[in-house]
């Protein structure tokens, strides 16, 4: 039981929070710009390397430098939107999907050119785990990841339901034409979508990078579970995407627990396939997700 909590449940929540933060952006972009953003994982990596570069210049706790990574990811997102995606907006969205596929490659190769392709370990290496009641061994990073995500979820929810920008975003996601007729500034909404999506992607990337190590494929490897989370939560439902992230994270970790007998239910080497299978099953049987999102 203790083993289950320490090695499966808590890590499940931790990776779940990474997925949750990434999936929010994917879900919002899907809802407002109406395309699947294949460069979102690599946008995460951009954020991580931004933080990494900053730690080289200012050797302080990497958490203090997260804003640098966020700023870099936001800049990168706004830049590619302006230069690559916006000119394609009037065409069928599949062109933007293909374009984002290329942007993913551009991000990754830039990172490899500038940062090299080897693994990078952040900060001072091993951090002692938190030990509660002598039995629960929690990695402090995991606790930080989950609490940060929870706080972000609350703030984001308030932002979306109370602020003018947040409501405009939901309105554009609901009906872009009526939003235009109501005089809303859709380009501003698009900008905010990128800002929020990229900032959260950078935070998610840092948690993922601190947990293991940072490498150029970090974000790409997280992309499909994040898509799965966004679809699970229902497209255009940011809170649903958050929940979806945790569900996918837990499903991945718990699938390799030895539920029956001695051996893992599903071999850990197929862990990543769990998210894909969930995603494909959802796409087929319940494409509107668990929380009644929109179908595109």
């Amino acid at each position: 039981m203790i083993e289950f909590i320490n090695f499966y449940l808590v890590p499940g929540f931790a990776i779940g929070s990474v997925y949750a933060l990434g999936a929010v952006g994917i879900s919002m972009i899907f809802g407002i710009l109406r395309f699947a953003h294949f460069a979102h994982g690599d946008l995460m990596t951009v954020g991580v390397y931004g933080v990494f570069a900053a730690t080289v210049v200012f050797p302080v706790n990497p958490f203090l430098l997260v804003p640098v990574g966020m700023a870099l990811a936001i800049f990168a997102a706004l830049f590619v939107d302006k230069v690559f995606y916006q000119p394609l907006r009037k065409l069928p969205t599949i062109y933007t999907v293909i374009s984002s596929f290329g942007v993913a490659l551009i991000f990754r190769s830039l990172i490899q050119i500038i940062g090299g392709s080897e693994n990078r370990v952040f900060g001072s290496g091993i951090r002692p785990p938190l030990i509660l009641f002598d039995t629960f061994r929690l990695s402090s990073l995991h606790v930080q990841a989950v609490t940060t995500t929870a706080v972000i979820a609350v703030v984001l929810h308030i932002f979306l339901s109370k602020s003018m920008t947040g409501r405009s975003m939901r309105a554009v996601a609901d009906d872009p034409e009526l939003a235009q007729i109501s005089g809303l500034d859709t380009e501003k909404v698009v900008r905010w979508t990128w800002i929020i999506g990229a900032a959260l992607a950078a935070i998610a990337g840092v948690f993922a990078g601190l947990d293991t190590s940072a490498h150029p494929n970090l974000g790409w490897n997280l992309l499909l579970p994040m898509f799965a989370a966004a679809i699970l939560g229902g497209i255009g439902k940011p809170m649903g995407a958050m929940a979806g992230g945790f569900i996918i994270g837990l499903a991945e970790e718990l699938s390799s627990y030895h539920w029956i007998g001695e051996s893992a239910l599903i071999s850990p080497s197929y862990k990543t396939a769990v998210a894909f299978v969930i995603m494909i099953a959802l796409l087929i049987f319940k494409p509107q997700g668990l929380f009644k999102g929109r179908l595109l």
Binding site: R167, R170, A173, E177, L178, I181, D185
Partner: protein, 239 residues
């Protein structure tokens, strides 16, 4: 009576051939003007063109003497024009309150809460639905939300595309009564209507379009009395 909106020789389409051709009419300050015509006549297209949602191929639209033909839609909202489209006229996943709130973003009214109170006074049905997603309302209630949203920016000119489509006769009369109340608050209304007889009864002027062209214009009473209009649009003899 001064002219608020002057449409002159307006020709427009959707990228292909012109859908409306050489449409001309005037809307006077604080009146209710009605656009009539068979399905596909181009009524919605006229409304959309005034609101800069189509491709203008010729002619002009003037608001208060200023040409607005190539203003952006969002700019028109700030100039006091507000519109309710024929379908998809509420944000279904947003609550009634949020829908109304969206109406204030482009052109904030002086006192948002006061404006909201006036509108809820006009549409008391909405008062106990404020927290409900608009997608869950009845057709008539949705229409009220849509008109309410359009009124939240305190427009001088309200464009309505078939505000009574699909409503029961009782609801239809309520909406028309409401529009008379709205007019009393100083708003000019230009609306497209299929329920020609009732619409002409509350209208100051009516404009009939056929095949994208002017067919006949006149006061509500003149059109109600007109032989041609009666035969084609009012179902024969007068009541």
């Amino acid at each position: 009576m001064s002219v608020l909106l002057e449409v002159k020789d307006l020709t427009a389409g959707y990228g292909g051939p012109a859908v409306i051709e050489g449409i001309s009419f005037d809307v006077f300050t604080n009146e209710i003007a009605v656009i009539l015509g068979p399905n596909g006549a181009g009524k919605s297209t006229v409304i959309k063109t005034i609101f800069s949602l189509t491709n203008v191929l010729g002619g002009s639209v003037q608001l208060d003497g200023k040409t607005i033909t190539d203003q952006k839609t969002s700019k028109l909202v700030t100039m006091g024009v507000s519109a309710v489209p024929q379908s998809h006229n509420v944000f279904p996943n947003l609550t009634v309150d949020e829908n109304l709130d969206i109406g204030t973003y482009a052109a904030p009214p002086v006192d948002k809460m006061a404006t909201r109170e006036i509108i809820l006074g006009l549409f008391p049905d909405l008062r106990d639905k404020l927290k409900q997603p608009s997608g869950e309302l009845s057709g008539g209630q949705r229409q009220m939300v849509a008109i309410g949203r359009a009124l939240m920016c305190e427009p001088t000119l309200l464009l309505l595309d078939e505000p009574t489509a699909g409503l029961s006769p009782a609801y239809l009369e309520r909406i028309f009564d409401l529009l008379l109340d709205v007019r009393k608050t100083g708003v000019t209304i230009l609306m497209v209507e299929q329920n020609a007889r009732q619409a002409l009864q509350i209208a100051d002027h009516g404009h009939v379009f056929v095949n994208g062209k002017n067919f006949i214009s006149g006061t509500g009473q003149e059109l109600l009395a007109d032989e041609n209009v009666r035969n084609s649009f009012l179902g024969g003899a007068a009541s």
